[in-house]
Symmetry: C2
Subunit: 409 residues, 2 copies
Amino acid sequence: MADYWQATVTTPVNIAVIKYWGKRSVALNLPTNASLSVTLHQDQLCTTTTAQCSKEFASDRLWLNGKEEVIKPGGRTDTCIQEMKKLRKAYEDKYEDPHPASEWHVHLCSFNNFPTAAGLASSASGYAALVHCLATVYRLPNTSTELSLIARQGSGSACRSLFGGFVAWDMGVNEDGSDSKARQVASEDHWDDINAVICVVSDEKKGTSSTSGMQRTVETSPLIQERIRLVPARMAEMERAIAAQDFDAFAQLTMKDSNNFHAVCLDTSPPIFYMNDVSRALVALVHEFNRVSILQKRGHRAAYTFDAGPNAVIYCLRRNVKDIVNMVMHYFPQAEPFKDTYKVFYGKDTPGQMPLPKEFNEAVAKRWEVGAVRGLIHTKVGPGPRVLDVEQSLLTPEGMPKSLAEEKK
Amino acid sequence: MADYWQATVTTPVNIAVIKYWGKRSVALNLPTNASLSVTLHQDQLCTTTTAQCSKEFASDRLWLNGKEEVIKPGGRTDTCIQEMKKLRKAYEDKYEDPHPASEWHVHLCSFNNFPTAAGLASSASGYAALVHCLATVYRLPNTSTELSLIARQGSGSACRSLFGGFVAWDMGVNEDGSDSKARQVASEDHWDDINAVICVVSDEKKGTSSTSGMQRTVETSPLIQERIRLVPARMAEMERAIAAQDFDAFAQLTMKDSNNFHAVCLDTSPPIFYMNDVSRALVALVHEFNRVSILQKRGHRAAYTFDAGPNAVIYCLRRNVKDIVNMVMHYFPQAEPFKDTYKVFYGKDTPGQMPLPKEFNEAVAKRWEVGAVRGLIHTKVGPGPRVLDVEQSLLTPEGMPKSLAEEKK
């Protein structure tokens, strides 16, 4: 047996197309409605986490993006760690495993490959990484769905980041949350043509946190009740659209659900606004893009969705990325050239300077100043968590972050 | 008998606190829910209309703000004129009146004392003026509630501008609309302390027209059904708040209903946005103003409401106008000095430069550039339509607009 056990994993970000908003239990992160998301590719957005446990450690410790965080007893991180230790203990008891890893303290080191300030939910990939990483360290045989019950307690949407592709979080009915868990609806290979253009929007004001916001909605919005009633049918429709690779239906449902979610935010007292004038302009562009596309008998070719912030995620099929990026950059000029990771532009194509689609009403939005959309990220549907090699560990054999160790030198 | 009959009237604008949104009959302007409004004072906002009818006239004609408009057969204006002629005909038949005014053509001349571009619903006061003016010309004994059935067919909210004070529009259940009419809930004297600060917000984009917008909402928003269910209880609560002069309840209901209306707009496919970033900032200011007021045990002291546009109407009691204007001008500096019609500032008071309320969180909004709020109008609850003297006629004895006659000279 080694002096310590260790694993390093990466986990993806997911962006819901049927949104989670409203908790029936705050403590257990039990939702008032089911949700469904697309897992985005880790080449663009992911969390990397190393967990190391050792009998030498004096306490559980955590470094996030290079800075040590206090693990508050009974807090979300502590809850996830304790739940994972319980799973390990049960494993030790059941298989008479002589290694008392469940009794050791754990050091965790984690960072995101995307800027936290971008407003892209990092808690989902973060808590998924924590749970998946500990499951790997503890050599647990549990399925991702079983682990999702624990990730959910860190951050609701984290339960969906334990899978690649298309992921449902079934709300469950049990009071203890034992049936409120994630499952994969379809893998990233089933419909690998699904791409996403993320428009990172500047936000001058600090928004309302999701946790306090959704609680206020449940307490004060009469419309949330109607939303709760309509989501089950939407979940079924969305699962069907994904199974059939029906982008037209997928797009319509995605946009309707995003708007429905922001509508209940607005119906909250005091109202919650996440979208701003830039978001509204992006909405107008996508609808105009689709209007022209429908005229051409091509159906909906783009679908925006907004989480609890002003950023737009525009889903589309790979073949339409070029037109969409060109359109967005026409209205929202960028300081930096477009990072064309997946090579959709070729030859003399200049994103933002190519013609708009025929019959596109250019007056649907004004042209904004550079910086109104701070950046564009082209990504696609991606796989679930990955385990990295030992060389990629973020911790030294002594259990301290390598970055800190380097700084000391 | 004179060669012509003539009358000149002024009618007020009204701003709903329980909003009208959604038609169950487009042709008859029958709403899917009841609504309730405050009539604003005509000293600040009104429509003036002269109607003249004469056997010499060759056709019905209309001049709006100095420009002749075509009266489309079967259109809204024509409908109102024809309905009024029918009422006159019934009167002639019943009372054996020998003057066949119902057979004469009518010339109408109308203007608003406020800029049309300000986005303040001018159709309400406009159609109310048309109907009230013809009723006066035709010497009809009908009540305002009876006339409201006709004004409603011009523009739904016009039916509420036939009364001063606080006005309900009961939705009715009959298919022919015969019970969908306005009634006065309380006169302007009942609660004359109710003031309004209108923040005229610049809007770069042209919004969706109310008529097409509300139809799209009825057809596509699942949440509108819940709105329709909840309005009757809100109407009752609002009537109670007005009867009791309970500003705290009035304010809470007003804001909730405005947000609820904009929520169903957002839930529409494609979504309808009327509020912009300036509107959102005004919402944040009013909520912060109320938060501090509630801390001081003074309850809600301000209530915003937004119609189908970005302008905020902030209702408050007269004693709070000063603090509200000062707050708005602190964040939204004005090119012109505040027009202090009702003398709420005195001595060295400078609106926008006085202290904000104690404990007010100044960071709740940023300070905007001059022009983001284009103007502030201080007004108050006001009376219903008024009949003016003959000297104030907008038409010459020949039935032509005086302004045009003057231009010819």
